[in-house]
Symmetry: C2
Subunit: 208 residues, 2 copies
């Protein structure tokens, strides 16, 4: 085993440290966040910092880098209080990744993805996405340690293929083709190893 110390981490060049620390925490969800500004102009951006926060009420969180430069997605969410989260499959991976370039026009148009407006939120969904989540802003927390901003959103609508929801509510995201991410630029398919039973001291976990 190689040991990397706190001093080693600080001594690395920026690119090496960024890749190392972005990958060491493991695989992440990756989605497209769609929003509109107060003029109704759409924005679309790829994010891998979206987490589950709670089921009742249904809450999720998005961690944004420090708000020191223009961050359209964060600014749109703060001004309109609504946004959508849209899963990414292999079929739209390159378009999704391309949204992170510095575009002058809407990333929908620039990257060849289709805005699909519903009625639950003002922001559009991504038509090509197999799992779409409409959200309303409920809370903002500023992380003191490095200026990142945690946005808490409440889920107000979910749009997805009917056949991927199991009888117990579990969504089969492998059937949906949803990818996960590692670090800044690596995208992965998944293969289930096991779904395990609720753990009890008097028995071994079993596959369910």
């Amino acid at each position: 085993m190689k040991k990397i110390s706190a001093e080693d981490i600080l001594s690395y060049d920026k690119r090496f440290r960024t890749n190392l620390i972005n990958t060491v925490t493991g695989f992440k969800s990756v989605s497209l966040i769609a929003s509109v500004n107060t003029q109704g102009e759409t924005n679309l951006a790829i994010f891998s910092q979206i987490i589950h926060v709670g089921a009742n009420p249904p809450l999720l969180g998005i961690l944004f880098r420090p708000h020191t430069v223009v961050r359209h997605t964060l600014e749109n969410i703060l001004s309109t209080a609504e946004f959508t989260i849209n899963h990414i499959s292999s079929e739209i991976l390159r378009q999704a990744h391309h949204t992170s370039a510095r575009w002058e026009q809407s990333e929908f148009e620039a990257c060849g993805l289709t805005p699909d407006f519903g009625t639950a939120v003002c922001a559009p969904y991504v038509r090509e996405s197999s799992v779409q989540i409409g959200c309303k802003l409920v809370e903002r927390q500023d992380i003191q340690a490095n200026g990142t901003v945690l946005i808490i959103g409440q889920i107000v609508e979910i749009r997805l293929p009917d056949n991927i929801v199991h009888d117990d509510g579990f969504i089969d995201l492998e059937m949906a083709g949803s990818l996960c991410a590692l670090g800044l630029d690596s995208y992965h398919n998944t293969t289930r190893v096991a779904r395990l039973s609720y753990a009890k001291p008097d028995s071994q976990p079993e596959e369910i």
Copy 2:
């Protein structure tokens, strides 16, 4: 496409809603968090709510459910300010999942995993884990919307096989065998689809 409204979500029975909302945000990292209490007794618990927060300083976050019942890991972190995060591979998946049962003794002993004490932090690593991260507590944020607690930790040591770190710092977690999770109980291997170049408006993303 099936549309699930905010009213639908609230009307579901608890188990269905819990599975649905825990899976809809996508795949997550999954790790074992090891800690000790002020008497030096070890604790080990499986967590899928660990996120990257920043690379310089190297920070990560853990989201804990509301602190309304005994939560040994959170209490140990708040009292000793140190903990370790240890990746999970298929070889130790069942032991790792079994840590979530209500044990009277240390989960290391109960589940057959080995505490491995280093010098950087007081909490042990999990010897059977291929990627081990030592952390110190730097910040606590309480989420008002549902009482969850976000703990920010600074990475002070990383222990991992030398051959899984690429020249640019990217850690090949597929080579390490690190799993990811979906929902409360599903565990997955990954297969890389592509690592894509930095996105620019004037060219298509390419594999790197």
